[in-house]
Amino acid sequence: MHAILTVFLKEVRESLRDKRTLWSALGFGAIFSPLLFAAILSFTIKRNDPLNDKPVELAVAHTERAPNLVDHLVEYGITVEPVTYDDAAARAAIQDHRHKLVLMIPEDYATRLAAGQPAPLQLYSDSSDQTADRDVRRTRNVLAGYGAVISRLRLVARGVDPTTVVPIAIHDVDVSTPASRSVIALGTVSVFIFMSLFMGGMYLAIDATAGERERGSLEPLLTVPVRRDHLIYGKILAASAFMALSLVVSVAALSIVLRRVGLEGLGMSVNFGPLTALLIVLCCLSLIPFCASIMTIIAAYTRSYREAQTYLGLITVIPILPMMFASMMGLRPNAVLMATPTLSQHFLITSLLRDEAMSPGFVGLSVGVSLGLGAVLAAIAGRLYHREALLG
């Protein structure tokens, strides 16, 4: 049996017996990440969904001064609550959170309207209150609509065709599909997949290097007639195996959760069946040697187990930032991005979830560059193990 295989089997066996390694490999991917994802998702759905149907509650001071306006408001689904505030009382009512919105109809409203002059209306709200935003917007729209009706009537009364004052007409044509609308939510899917993948191999990578040195088992290991780079390849291979395991588990769990939670509530559909899950796993497998080697190199350089843990924790965050950035900025794949490990896999995952075609060249680039860099890094790790400083 080759020494690389011997080391690989020993590391795997030892890790399977170590609860912490096993938990970080399976616990995070299988339990924590899908649960967190489901929580985020259902929170988003709740915030977007039922609020849209809730009527706007509007306190109106002096309804008697504008009965037609009040009828219009009611007609457009606004719940009008008559109040008898003056300016100070209206401000106080907003500040005390008794009302989100107060509409004040001044005394001269009716006379100015009748005279064809701009009729004043005061809308009190607190712009720092995010939840009032939607109510303010809707109320303004309804009020503007009322104004438009009056202006059309005035034009007609003066014998002018109202369309002459509408020189342009904008129509929004939304071509997003339900699958593409879910992209922002799905941008986080790749984050969770990568986190699970990293966590899966992290403890093994630390244990096999910094941990082994700290427990004093590295020195005897270096006295066996095996090339030092072969020892490290066996360890990288073992970390890779745990990463792959964690990857499979987390993708499967996310697939199940996503189909259960249902993005239909957000007006989105998602393409995350078993085939997509399989393709996602295949795309991410090419990333594993890269991640395993990086972790091993870093852990081999650090002086202690705890230090390695700190650095690897930080490293985990690095690929996540560009991913978040890419999904928020709506970046499209190009040759440079597709040659960047982790980011390219993010694009592959996203396009699979959106059910979009990805050019085979880009797929090849992503897989090729990731595997190539993985090989280079593994070789660097091998060289590193020839250094005496390794013994600490």
């Binding site: 066996r13 088992s217 007639p225 005496e388």
Partner: protein
């Protein structure tokens, strides 16, 4: 048979080992005696090829540790400073892992492991996870692991550290047995009595230099001291005086 010819090793500004030469013959126990920090461990680490000397060379049964470290490792069994066995593996699995790394066949590994487990009286705990073993049991496991490939030369770095009286006695018996079988045994210690009780040859190291070599009797005679401890103190004192 181990022949060390003028090895030196420097760590930054510290000259850990300076032109050290010594011989450890087959069928004899050679003790590397010296105070802490004298360069004993560095000398042993160079011999078991974990670090390379800056200059000089050593031959293990005629194989150079500098030119052919991989081949030299086949001829040595090593018990380093800390036992360093794997916590989640059983004592037996720890031994078998090294058997596989030494390229032993499965059948050979098993029979050799059985043999060592019996020889070291490990039957009671051979299938227990290493984290549940006592210091003495861990030391036995590490020793069995070091002997799995039947090395002719056995190197031990402060093997009695952290062991209780019984475990030290067991180790002593074992080292004598290895001597009877014709092995070359080289071990380091800072405990004078231990070396005096066990060694056929003593190499005294202080400040990275070999300050004296010879049998315990020869050393006593040379220094005109009937007590070996006195002799040892004078040697170290002289060495310090040279600085």
């Amino acid at each position: 048979m181990i022949e060390v010819n003028g090895i030196s090793k420097r760590f930054g500004a510290v000259e850990a080992v300076r032109d050290v030469s010594l011989r450890a013959a087959d069928g004899r126990i050679t003790g590397l005696l010296g105070p802490n920090g004298a360069g004993k461990s560095t000398t042993l680490r160079i011999l078991y090829t974990v670090i390379r000397p800056d200059s000089g060379d050593a031959l293990i049964d005629g194989t150079s540790i500098v030119r052919e470290p991989l081949e030299a490792r086949r001829h040595i069994g090593v018990l380093p400073h800390s036992a360093g066995i794997y916590q989640h593996l059983t004592a037996r699995e720890n031994i078998l892992y090294y058997a596989a790394l030494h390229g032993l066949s499965r059948a050979e590994s098993q029979s050799r492991a059985d043999e060592l487990i019996e020889m070291l009286d490990m039957q009671d705990f051979a299938s227990r996870r290493a984290k549940k073993l006592s210091q003495g049991q861990k030391m036995k496991t590490a020793l069995a692991r070091a002997l799995i490939h039947r090395p002719r030369n056995v190197l031990l770095d402060e093997p009695t550290n952290g062991l209780d009286v019984m475990a030290v006695r067991n180790l002593r018996t074992l080292l004598m047995r290895l001597r009877e079988q014709g092995h070359c045994v080289l071990f380091s210690s800072h405990v004078m009595q231990e070396v005096a009780a066990l060694c056929d040859d003593i190499v005294v190291i202080a400040r990275g230099n070999v300050v004296a070599t010879g049998s315990p009797d020869a050393l006593r005679e040379r220094l005109g001291q009937s007590d070996l401890e006195e002799a040892f103190v004078r040697l170290i004192g002289n060495a310090e005086g040279l600085e």
